[in-house]
Symmetry: C2
Subunit: 204 residues, 2 copies
DNA sequence: CCACCAACATTCATCACTGTATGTATCTTG
DNA sequence: CAAGATACATACAGTGATGAATGTTGGTGG
């Protein structure tokens, strides 16, 4: 039954595909390795060859997708970007999510199909790290934008504005996925984001 | 071992308390009825006397808490409320959540400690119903507010504004719970909500 | 005051899942 | 072309959870 390297790689992908589908449909905890193996057309032996256990398999499945939060990783450029650039980046992230089905499935799994506790906790490290990066980037931008101008409605609480912005974007993504695309993510998102950033845009 | 009615009711509450704590700490799927019984100081027999199974127990545990979304149930009053009233109701809901620890735990369980699939699906009916009520109430208010005035920045897409508002509030609650109260819910919430509603307030 | 039933505890049978150990056939490398 | 490593399949033991069946004791209605 020995397969060539290429075939083995395909087997691995097939396992990850089956896991992604079953995790999405039935939840992570409710899906057994036997079910995954059957759905992929093989036995548990194949899974234990390619992965240590379920958590390891889960991690690798998540790693195949690009998370929308990762659009906010700063390119290690000079200065904190402007609020306008932040809005553009945000809308890019939304548009990307709306266009990529794998990301939609993986994000849905991460948010509604698994429990953030116990052995699964380390498997969530990537998402939490991406969230954290996004959060600090947003805070930096609003801090910078509000410290530069003396006039304005409120200049003291850039942190509150940044927190609100982050929550709004997070809620947007969450509700869009939960509602099964009940509204236009980019349209509603653009409108919401512009309302939030309107007071803090430099030029016209 | 026969207990009086009052003692039996206390036993029932003790089981629900233990379930709430263990679900919160370890997740719903990862918590067994044996663990719950042990934490409550009794055996599985007691649980099977008071509840049909785990899903039934879960439902009753959720039912002990008042969900913040339920603050939006319209009091069957005359007309759709104003945007200002909506803001006040929203902040009330946030303040209530921030003040009630049981609601915080139950909401956290509902959002991060269980999988929204399979046999658990019917147990989520209450939360989804509350969400839906909140969503339509918000849509009604913005529809009414924007149809009444001919002038304004945009009057066509009240739906998009309502969706954005709902997402923002939802994200606010979600991130506050996930971050373990990393920011002031009522402060950040008030600021965010007022920004979103500023364009749609009637009077000064 | 006694029979009965509520409120549990205990026991049992069953099953599904995990992890590992072993088998095996095929590719691959010297 | 032989020998070993690879890529699985199969078999096994162990664990723990569920649900039901049964046991037990003490409140409670008649």
């Amino acid at each position: 039954m020995r397969r060539t390297k290429c075939e083995a790689a395909q087997t691995r992908e097939a396992i990850l595909d089956a896991a992604e589908t079953l995790f999405f449909e039935n939840g992570v905890a409710a899906t057994s390795l036997s079910q995954i193996a059957a759905a992929a057309g093989m036995t548990r032996g194949a899974i234990y060859w390619h992965f240590e256990n379920k958590v390891d398999l889960f991690k690798d499945m998540v790693d195949r997708a690009r998370l929308p939060q990762e659009a906010f990783f700063h390119d290690s450029r000079h200065e904190p970007a402007s609020v306008r650039e932040l809005c553009e980046k945000t809308i890019e992230a939304l548009a990307f999510l709306a266009s990529d089905e794998r990301t939609q499935r993986v994000m849905t799994i991460l948010m509604f199909r698994c429990e953030y506790v116990g052995e699964m906790q380390p498997a969530m490290a990537r998402r939490e790290s991406a969230d954290e990066h996004m959060r600090v980037e947003i805070a930096r931008i609003f801090d910078h934008a509000l410290s530069n101008r003396a006039t304005g409605p409120k200049q003291c609480d850039a942190r509150a504005i940044a927190s609100g912005y982050f929550c709004a974007v997070s809620g947007l993504i969450t509700e869009w996925l939960k509602s099964d695309h009940a509204f236009d993510l980019v349209n509603v998102g653009s409108q919401l984001i512009e309302t939030l950033a309107a007071d803090h845009l430099e030029g016209a």
